[in-house]
Amino acid sequence: MEMIHDIPARAPWSGIIRKGQTLRIEDTYGQQAIDTLFYNAHDHGERYSSQDTLRTQGAAYVTTGTAIVSNLGRVMLRVTADSAGRHDTSAGCCSCESNTVRFGHNTKFQHACRENFILELARHGMTKRDIVPNLNFFMNVPISPNGAMTVDDGISSPGDHLELVAEMDVLCVISNCPQINNPCNGFDPTPCRVIIRD
């Protein structure tokens, strides 16, 4: 069975991926950051941990082979395919508040990923407390040996995709990033597609 979910530009989405199912995330138009969080579907206190994920693999980016690790040290999903090559999990999601620091106080009243996350998490009984440093699929944030870190132009092309196989039942929460102040969406947020299949 295959379920297809088209996520409009700038919008949130959430869904359950059962153990053994494959989550396919498609960057339909290219250069679109897809901010993503995972929770144990049966215990939301267990959730994605960027730090445990990166330390476990010994490397700073997410790609094929990455085990997505929870705050309890368990593997939630594994990345089994990735046509783009590299994804960020160190830069977090955009928020109205961080936008004011990055891009000036005049950007406070712009839609942001954290607004999407708060509203989508509320549907599952969660709050801002439950937002942890997320995965930024198709977002290009190189970290240099001297520590320099910046959001650069995306390296994904239209139709690029990645696939993750769930090793536990997970709740996936996505914000299809609305940011227009940096290149994470090519300054033009676009729709994306999620496919869940057995």
Binding site: A59, G92, S98, N99, G104, A148, P183
Partner: protein
């Protein structure tokens, strides 16, 4: 139906970003590391020794200085929450993204998830801190014994509980005195030469905070199996802050962060 933005809008926003990026990534005139060892702390209002493998919690008032002095090679994991609203907490992704660097050194600041500055790194002898890889866990210490088998994940669970918080509140932790760097291939490396005897940091609280500290060796530390030395935790009284204070003025992002602090307090 998706409405694309116009080429003119895109070009204008791109140029604006490139201006921010150029200013944010240009070499900063940040000071040299603080001299080792740190000064005496005769006026401390609180001094506590935290044994290797253990943790502590404390409240720090706005303006007070939290001084951390490891007894030797060890790492200290830190989590922080705002008071009275603890849903505002340490946010490392924003801390590094907003300052265009993962290297936190003297003169840098640590942001909350609300675009405000929680802590200023007013003194720092090493600049050897890790924001990316978290602390030790039951899995990473599974082969160790005694206090070396204690770990930061469980310490943070215990510390949070004693502050009235739970695992949902625990943020990604800042590892002080943990010389983790990313090489050109994206791999993490441990650079022990960045640390030396007498290392210390002074963190100035920029809002009322509760803080959790875990004194455990980092999982990437080649000596992770050894019990770490005691950690000295010192809280010093607030001092007057000059208008040209380094941490408040070093970058445009820090200035805007402190404007957000002032706005919350009704002074901006």
């Amino acid at each position: 139906m998706h409405m694309h933005r116009t080429p003119d809008q895109i070009a204008a926003d791109r140029q604006r970003y490139l201006d921010f990026q150029r200013e944010g990534m240009e070499a900063k005139t940040l000071p040299e590391p603080s001299p080792r060892p740190g000064p005496k702390a005769d006026d401390a209002r609180l001094k506590e020794m935290v044994p290797g493998g253990w943790y502590t919690t404390l409240h720090v008032k706005k303006g007070e200085i939290l001084r951390l002095v490891p007894g030797g090679a060890s790492s200290v994991s830190l989590a922080a929450w705002a008071l009275p609203d603890t849903t505002e907490r340490l946010c490392l992704p924003d801390t590094v993204k907003l300052q265009w660097t993962t290297d936190l050194t003297k003169g840098r600041v640590i942001f909350s998830d609300m675009g405000r500055v929680m802590l200023s790194l007013v003194e720092d002898s090493s600049g050897a801190h890790d924001v990316l890889t978290g602390g030790s866990t039951p899995e990473t210490v599974a082969d160790y014994t005694g206090d070396a088998a204690r770990n930061t994940r469980e310490n943070m669970m215990l510390a949070a509980a004693k502050l009235g918080l739970d695992r949902r509140d625990i943020p990604a932790v800042l590892n002080l005195f943990a010389p983790v760097r990313v090489d050109a291939e994206g791999r993490f490396t441990w650079r022990p030469a960045m640390l030396a005897a007498g290392d210390w940091v002074d963190l100035r609280a920029e809002m009322d905070l509760c803080i959790a500290l875990s004194n455990c060796r980092h999982p990437l530390d080649p000596d992770a199996a050894k019990v770490p030395p005691d950690l000295s935790v010192i809280c010093l009284p607030a001092q007057p802050i000059p208008a040209d204070d380094l941490c408040r003025t070093a970058t445009a992002e820090a200035r805007r962060g402190f404007e957000n602090n002032a706005r919350l307090q009704g002074a901006f």
